[in-house]
Amino acid sequence: MSAYCELFNLTKVYPSPKGPAVIVKDFNLRLAEGEFVTLIGHSGCGKSTVLSMVAGLNGITDGGIILAGRELAGPGPDRGVVFQSPSLLPWLTAFENVMLGINQVFFTAQPHEREQIAEYYLSVVGLADAMHKRPAELSQGMRQRVGIARAFALKPKMLLLDEPFGMLDSLTRYELQAVLLELWRKNRITTLMVTHDVDEALYLSDRVVCMTDGPEAEVGDIIEVKFPRPRDRKAVMEHPDYYPLRERLIEFLEIHAHRRRPPTA
């Protein structure tokens, strides 16, 4: 497999009063171009740490990340980021929030072309009528739609999602998963997504990467998810492989829950 994005020996050490705390150690992962990979693991194992290192928002202690043939250093708009909280700027409308990035990335384009891009992506996520509202006037789910539109609108090389639907009720979550999947299918952006939700991981991704528990978390198990695309939630859940895969994931999480080492190890 030719790797489009490669995380090699990625390591994160935080200084702590009791000496250096090794949160993630020798994390190795290769993503093919256009692949959708989810990262799953117990709370606190270091999923967000890995993702924010890829985003460039968190310093890398050791190892490195290569994206499209170049080693990453620091953050940049070539990686679209969506966090659990939508982190929209509250004094800008949804449209202006998206435009902030577009103006930055497509600075050579004509103003009306840039506006078209923002309008297009906001309409695709279902905000055609609400794009000139401020975040405070939008529901949690709508804000997250803006976040998704903002990430896709910049045509990034890679999409980084950290539990983007974690704060939503399940109905909204289902809707947004479908929105995300549709956008991803059209744009085929290489995606790394963190989630707690086993069903979400199986519905969306090509591979599920299970992280071992921290400290010194690394890649534990990788599960291939080969449901045909475009996917339909009902068809996926009725697929004969669905429950075996689900069992395998849950089993992995449960076993590693019992194997949790004390922090002194």
């Binding site: 460039g56 940049g76 708009p77 982190s87 700027l89 004094w91 902030l100």
Partner: protein
């Protein structure tokens, strides 16, 4: 004592006091009296807004009368104060001489001076606050100095201002006054801005980082809008101080204005207008604070 035998009537009484027609308290259905009590209550509360301040005011005026008749014979009583202040209030814009003008004319002169000093305070204080909020080194370097300079009274700054602008000739007193207003009024802006900058959510800064916004754009598109509510709290407090300082500044420089007038009348042994000036200063200060908090609230909700 006979009431103690009928506790149910006792509890029902507050609702019944306004309606003598209700003759059978025990049989009366409960909900209507309850509705009436809340209505009476709300009418009372509305009256409170007018009635209680009026009572307070009356009490103060009475105290004033008593005081001027007993302990302090030199203190003009309210009627005398009013009679001798009348020309200044009735013709608020008249001009009879540099230090004999209508009260609003004086107020206007003071407001202009305060506005100038206040603008200087904001122009210096806001960037300084940003600097302190952004850099830990700057905070460590400047915080002790700020903490020491902040409590210094305008009366102490003014002579320094006079010395500073000694070479400015006729302008010296105005410049010294502006210096004093600015240096006394800027601290709330400095400190609130610094707090606001430190309180910018990491999420917002991450947006700027991910988009690789330039330093200038990060400042104008993210940091300043995120800090605005704090800045305006500082601006409001600064304006209060600037107005507080005006009197001291005008007194010592002898400039025409509400404070200069106050001081001049004291020196001329005309005590009636001192109280007029105090009231005017208080009312103007109150109005300024209200206006600023309206602006401030608008930024809080944005």
């Amino acid at each position: 004592m006979s009431n103690s035998t009928l506790p149910t009537i006792l509890t029902a009484q507050p609702a019944e006091t306004g309606k003598p027609a209700a003759g059978t308290p025990a049989a009366a259905p409960l909900p209507p009296p309850a509705g009436r009590t809340t209505r009476d209550w709300s009418r009372l509360v509305k009256l409170d807004w007018l009635l209680l301040p009026a009572v307070g005011l009356a009490a103060v005026v009475v105290m004033w009368f008593i005081l001027s008749a007993t302990l302090s014979k030199d203190l003009p009583n309210p009627t005398r104060t009013w009679e001798s202040s009348k020309p200044y209030v009735v013709e608020p814009f008249s001009y009879r001489g540099e230090l004999d003008q209508g009260i609003l004319r004086f107020t206007w002169l003071s407001l202009v001076l305060v506005a100038k000093g206040y603008v200087i305070a904001l122009a210096l204080g806001t960037p300084l606050g940003f600097l302190l909020g952004l850099s830990k080194m700057m905070t460590k370097m400047l915080d002790p100095i700020i903490q020491i300079l902040r409590p210094v009274s305008p009366l102490a700054w003014l002579p320094l201002g006079m010395v500073l602008f000694l070479g400015a000739g006729k302008q010296a007193s105005e410049l010294a006054a502006l210096f004093t207003i600015a240096i006394c009024a800027m601290w709330p802006t400095v400190l609130n801005t610094a707090v606001g900058v430190r309180a910018i959510p990491q999420d917002y800064l991450n947006v700027a980082k991910v988009l690789k916004l330039s330093r200038w754009k990060t400042l104008t598109k993210v940091m300043i809008p995120a800090t605005l509510p704090y800045m305006f709290t500082g601006f409001r407090l600064s304006l209060g101080i600037a107005w507080l300082v005006i009197v001291a500044a005008e007194m010592l420089t002898g400039r025409p204005g509400i404070g200069g007038f106050l001081w001049q009348q004291y020196n001329a042994l005309v005590y009636e207008q001192i109280i007029l000036c105090i009231l005017t200063i208080g009312i103007v200060g109150f109005i300024l604070d209200r206006l600023m908090s309206v602006v401030e609230r608008r930024f809080k909700t944005a």
